[in-house]
């Protein structure tokens, strides 16, 4: 299993993500939006906390198994600690403002044909592309 399998690995991995979102909808009737699940734990709602915590635990466990069987699937962010923390704050605040991230808007929302999620996804993609272009122009290595 290699994450570097290129397009095949990308499509297969994507299909697994789609399957995961479908499973959560079929079983629990909930959307697999990771930023929303984090936000849910920060503002707990009775009856939701257990599955939300379990979902994040599943993500971490999958990551743990991944580090054992496919360590090359993990890389490191190019940022030093200070900018990394700043980026984390921006990701957290931005996803809570817009009500979703790559999974909630990008996968779940677009799969439903939500115009709101399409606007969000186009906007955060454009913003991220522009950010990488600026970093590159300033001499950084994105």
């Amino acid at each position: 299993m290699a994450s570097v399998a290129g397009v095949g690995g990308a499509v297969l991995g994507g299909a697994l993500i789609g399957l995961a979102a479908s499973l959560l909808w079929a079983l629990n009737g909930r959307r697999a939006g990771v930023s929303g699940i984090v936000g849910g734990l920060l503002q707990p709602v009775r009856g939701e906390t257990e599955w939300q915590g379990a979902f994040l635990l599943g993500l971490v466990l999958a990551g743990l198994v991944g580090t054992l069987v496919a360590p090359s699937a993990f890389g490191s962010s190019p940022l030093t600690l200070g900018p990394l923390v700043l980026a984390g704050l921006l990701v957290g605040a931005g996803t809570r403002l817009s009500g979703g991230c790559t999974s909630g808007h990008g996968v779940c929302g677009i799969s439903r044909g939500s115009r709101r999620s399409i606007v969000a996804t186009v906007t955060f993609m454009a913003s991220a592309v522009a950010t990488v272009a600026v970093v590159r122009a300033l001499g950084g290595v994105p």
Binding site: S3, G9, A10, V11, L12, G13, G14, I17, G18, L19, A20, A21, L23, W25, A26, L27, N28, G29, R30, A32, G33, S35, G36, V38, L42, E50, G53, A54, F55, G58, L59, A62, G63, V65, G66, T67, A70, F74, G75, L79, L81, V85, L86, A87, G88, L90, G92, A93, G94, R96, L97, G99, T102, S103, R116, V119, T123, A128, T131, R136
Partner: protein, 154 residues
């Protein structure tokens, strides 16, 4: 098995599968994500294929599941308020994009990378939660100038 335990197992299974998908697709490596975003440099289209695979599978599954009146383990499907396309949605997406473009991490891959990324990974996820907490705190103030119109938990 109580319903709450069943739903927790549903969450666990979905999280495991989701994380496996992130690892298999290589999205747990920020270099792959930043490569996709590096449109004016050495563009790497992989992320688009990940999105495509996920959306095709999920859209088809939703069509099939639409005939079911309720989820297997829950009372009802979650319903969102009417969607709003407003300044808050656009501002939040812009801010998220800057953080994503700088770090190469969005929330899912950052959390799945916790075992691999050590203290730096923990610092990113902690700051992500703090950023969410700031907005939730401001929403809690309920000021007229700061209304939560996000209407979705995605």
């Amino acid at each position: 098995m109580t319903p709450a335990v069943g739903r927790a197992l549903g969450g666990l299974a979905s999280g495991l599968l989701f994380g496996a998908g992130l690892v298999v697709s290589g999205m747990t490596d920020p270099a792959n994500v930043l490569g996709f975003l590096d449109v004016f440099g050495r563009w790497d289209p992989k992320l688009a294929f990940v999105m495509l695979g996920a959306i095709v599978v999920h859209a088809l599954a939703l069509r099939v599941l639409a005939r079911r009146p309720a989820p297997w383990l829950g009372a009802a499907y979650s319903v969102l308020p009417p969607p709003r396309i407003d300044g808050r949605l656009v501002l939040g997406s812009l801010v998220f994009g800057v953080g994503w473009g700088l770090s190469g991490y969005c929330p899912g891959p950052a959390i799945a990378s916790l075992p691999a990324a050590g203290a730096r990974g923990l610092a990113f996820v902690a700051s992500l939660a703090a950023g969410q907490g700031v907005v939730l705190g401001l929403d809690g103030l309920g000021s007229w100038a700061w209304r939560d119109t996000s209407a979705s938990r995605g």
